[in-house]
Symmetry: C2
Subunit: 167 residues, 2 copies
């Protein structure tokens, strides 16, 4: 072989040529999916509504009892089907008198990602159990996250669409 | 074989004995994980902050322009490591003067499920683009959900822990 460096050069050229193009910062590739794990469950017994956290997450509750209100993020697990996750428009509250709306303009329990958000009053925090006043969720609903409610960042002087103003 | 029915009986007894016990309603087994899919990304360009939805989700925006404010749920994607997801206590805002707190008593970007929640002012909704006033998130952050802000269910007269009252 007279020119072995030609092979080396060829391999190099091929490697550069076949590499994926550099991504501009605003074209960053985002992973197609993420995984969430239940941290506990909602329980309803004897007129009490509680969130029972898995014991391993109990250290995450330190100081929550200083807040009067907490956002509960949970999973609409009964709707976790490809069909329910593909719904993009609904009549809010299932009432045909409410105008057809995109799911991102409603709090409907069908949406691409079945994350629910409720603001709840904290009654007590004991060990791994948070008692709340109430929540519009089925018993045993999996809970994903808790966040303290901080009015300075979590409230706004808001306007609403006409159909909702009378509610 | 003199007593073949003994074998049938044996198999039956074994099947019943090895079946999992019936679950009481309040002991329902919850799936160990769920999957979330980005619906779009946060962009920051020319002093404008926008959420660019994937085109396929555009029908979900119908009517959102009637609301002045929207909750943006996004994913702290830069912290999606087993290590960051196992952090359960932090000093809020990374300031050691703030008392050690459970992550569920803070809005820290490290937590078991990396869901972020920000209330944002809607500037405009055009096709698959929502312009918002601002958001404390990196460019290209994946967005998981949008929910309209409805003061009657999303506000409360709240109290805060002492260390936060001066903020």
């Amino acid at each position: 072989m007279k020119h072995p460096y030609l092979i080396v050069l060829g391999v190099f050229v091929l490697a550069v040529w076949s590499a994926p193009p550099a991504e501009a910062d605003n074209e960053q590739v985002v992973p197609k999916q993420f995984t969430v794990y239940p941290i506990g469950q909602i329980k309803k017994q004897d007129r009490r509504t509680t969130i029972i956290l898995d014991r391993k997450y109990q250290p995450g509750l330190l100081g929550l009892d200083g807040f009067s209100h907490v956002y509960v993020l949970y999973w609409f697990d009964r709707n976790d089907t490809p069909r329910n996750r593909s719904v993009l428009q609904v009549h809010p509250l299932g009432n045909k008198k409410n105008p057809l709306s995109g799911v991102f303009a409603t709090r409907a329990p069908v949406r691409p990602n079945l994350i629910a958000l409720s603001l709840c009053k904290v009654i007590s925090v004991r060990e791994n159990v948070i008692e709340i006043d109430q929540i519009d969720a089925f018993p045993n609903t999996p809970v994903l996250d808790l966040k303290p409610y901080i009015p300075s960042i979590d409230t706004a002087t808001a306007t609403l669409p006409e159909w909702l103003k009378s509610k």
